[in-house]
């Protein structure tokens, strides 16, 4: 296998699956942040990153080559010509949900900050057990 073939292989992979690889990296980046960060605010931000990666994932697999936006414009009635709108609709809901979750989380963090003056996990654990 020479370098051109290898390049083509990589090219094909990136063209067809590359976006998924990126989504996956994003997802695990978020998870990694949630596990590793000691600061609760950072944990929350990592959580958002993770949620966004899932939204990307849905949007990615809804794509179709040569599909057009799912609005009937009188040109064709063939469903194959349009992209599937359902994942987009689902992700609207998911975005709302993640917004709600983030809102609650922020409210909780504000309570923690008010009460203990910090959102660092180590310091919090120390102050709570006092």
């Amino acid at each position: 296998m020479n370098s051109t073939e290898l390049f083509n292989l990589l090219n094909d992979f990136l063209a067809s699956k590359g976006i998924y690889a990126l989504v996956l990296i994003l997802f695990f980046l978020g998870m990694f942040g949630m596990i590793v960060c000691k600061n609760y605010m950072k944990k929350l931000m990592s959580m958002n990153i993770m949620q966004v990666s899932i939204i990307f994932f849905f949007l990615c697999f809804a794509q179709k080559e040569g599909g057009m936006i799912p609005v009937l414009d009188g040109v064709t009635n063939d469903p194959g010509a349009y992209i599937n709108p359902l994942p987009h609709a689902l992700m609207l809901t998911a975005i709302v949900v993640s917004l709600g979750t983030t809102g609650v989380a922020l409210a909780l963090l504000m309570r923690l900050k008010d009460k203990y003056g910090t959102v660092e996990e180590d310091e919090l654990l120390g102050r709570i057990s006092e």
Partner: protein
């Protein structure tokens, strides 16, 4: 009659929206609307249950008249009909139970140093806020159980979770951190669930559960199914606090608001457990090789959870935390029942979901009642409880015996069906686990009973005045009622199993 299914989740949902606004007008109005909505939900659930039993057919309800797979579908078969009744009953009675915590007549005279800083405000905002969250949680749990749509399940899951975070955070200082940690883990679970949905959706193009089951039949060996199954284990594993994904649960149950803890502890892990059962047996199906492997894993985790949860429960001094660890063990029972993968196993799992909902919530109601009167939660402070609160103690004894698995309380029979299932599938290992866990359960529950009956009366300071009875009637009636229900379920288990649960089994396993 035709629209009964939709009333069940929608009414609590609507009442949650109205609750705050109405509370602004009159402090109690919002609460009454929520109780009213839950009552109607409960009545509709019973109506549906009777209807399903009478006709013997699964009820399908199409939201807005849109037929599946396009529209959202509500499905009520024998299995979830009875669970719906249980959820609606627990939600309603715990709601009634919660009232004195927010009543002006029973304001606390004084506060003990610990355990006292849960929300008990009587302003419209605090009262209305609590009941709005409570109604949302109930709506979420009911919705998760009734829905026949995979994405709808996600939405209801999140409704239940987000309101659950709020209710846990109302429980005082430590609860905020517990709630935040649960939020992080809960979101991971929800994300994994969404990913699982995505993987299944990408090969079938449908979100309706029944439709999915039909279309997946052609893809039993697809790698997508493998990924979906593993992600479902993580997602529901976290949500139902399956060992070792239970990290959030002890803190969350311990520090949750005492008026909402019975609902949270009793049901928040049960609805996901039922959803897991749906996915494994009704949507993907046991004939998929991945599900068979997944069940082995679930069973093993469940068995570990049973043993370690019971051991941890033995080490606790706080009654609530002991109950929380015991929940880890009890979820293990459900997981083991699931993993057996035969008719008796599923029956045992669903029966345990049912009975455990009542056992755990009645135990949390009991400790909530002690906290209400004395602001105490330690086991050592329960000495002589039978003299101060005799009826509450009766329920405590019944629920404890049921947790240990002494006949004729309900807890014994889920054990019996698990034994039957494990013999049928030749897993003698689970028999041993079950025996050991019963003994461990007996150790920590009889320790509590020993404290109550043998120890010298604990020095207790009343923080709320004693009324005519040991507790306000709103609290006493649900507590006593649940004690009776635990025995009733045990006595009636033959009917529940033979006439209800075994009719709702998946076709491949039908007896």
């Amino acid at each position: 009659m035709r629209n009964l299914p939709v009333l069940i989740p929608i009414l609590p949902l609507a009442s949650a929206m109205l609750c705050l606004a109405l509370s602004r007008i009159n402090k109690n109005l919002g609460k009454y609307v929520v109780i009213g909505a839950l009552t109607v939900s409960f009545a509709s659930a019973i109506g549906l249950f009777v209807e399903v039993m009478r006709t013997g057919e699964t009820i399908h309800y199409y939201m807005g008249g849109w037929k599946p797979p396009l529209g959202i579908e509500f499905v009520i078969d024998e299995m979830n009909a009875i669970i719906l009744v249980a959820i609606a009953a627990v939600a309603l009675f715990v709601c009634i139970y919660s009232q004195p915590f927010f009543s002006e007549k029973t304001r606390r005279l004084k506060r003990q140093k610990d355990n006292s800083n849960y929300a008990d405000g009587t302003t419209w905002l605090e009262k209305g806020g609590f009941y709005a969250l409570y109604a949302l949680l109930s709506a979420g749990l009911l919705g998760m159980t009734i829905t026949g749509d995979m994405f709808n399940l996600y939405v209801f899951l999140e409704i239940a979770s987000i309101s659950g975070y709020g209710l846990i955070a109302l429980g005082g200082d430590k609860s905020v951190m517990a709630s935040f940690r649960y939020l992080l883990l809960g979101t991971i679970a929800a994300s994994f669930y969404l990913l699982a949905v995505a993987y299944m959706y990408s090969i079938t193009g449908t979100l309706n559960m029944a439709d999915m089951a039909m279309l997946l039949a052609a893809h039993k060996n697809s790698p997508n199914v493998f990924i979906a199954v593993s992600m479902l284990i993580i997602a529901f594993g976290i949500k139902m606090a399956l060992f070792p994904l239970h990290g959030w649960q002890p803190d969350a149950y311990t520090y949750a608001h005492p008026a909402a803890a019975p609902l949270i502890a009793g049901l928040m892990s049960k609805a996901p457990a039922l959803a897991m059962l749906r996915y494994m047996f009704y949507i993907i199906g046991v004939d998929s090789p991945y599900v068979a492997k997944a069940l082995t894993v679930i069973g093993f985790l469940g068995a570990c959870g049973i043993i370690l949860g019971s051991v941890m429960a033995n080490a606790q001094r706080d009654f609530r935390r002991m109950l929380a660890y015991s929940s880890v063990a009890q979820i293990g029972y459900i997981a083991v029942g699931l993993s057996l993968g035969n008719a008796y196993g599923i029956i045992a799992a669903v029966f345990h979901i049912l009975i455990h909902a009542f056992m755990k919530s009645s135990l949390f109601m009991v400790i909530g009642a002690v906290r209400y009167r004395y602001d105490e939660v330690l086991i050592s402070k329960l000495g002589g409880l039978n003299k101060h609160m005799p009826l509450t103690t009766v329920t405590l004894v019944i629920a404890a015996l049921s947790m240990v698995g002494i006949p004729p309380t309900g807890g014994f029979f889920s054990k019996w069906y698990i034994i039957m299932g494990s013999l049928e599938s030749g897993h003698y290992f689970y028999l041993v686990v079950l025996i050991v866990s019963s003994l461990l359960n007996a150790m920590y529950f009889f320790r509590v009973l020993e404290t109550v009956f043998i120890n010298k009366d604990a020095e207790l300071e009343e923080v709320r005045p004693k009324g005519r009875f040991e507790l306000p009637l709103q609290m006493l009636v649900p507590i006593v009622l649940f004690g009776i229900v635990i025995i009733a379920i045990g006595v009636l288990n033959a009917h529940i199993v033979a006439d209800v649960l075994s009719l709702g089994l998946p076709e491949v396993l039908a007896i």
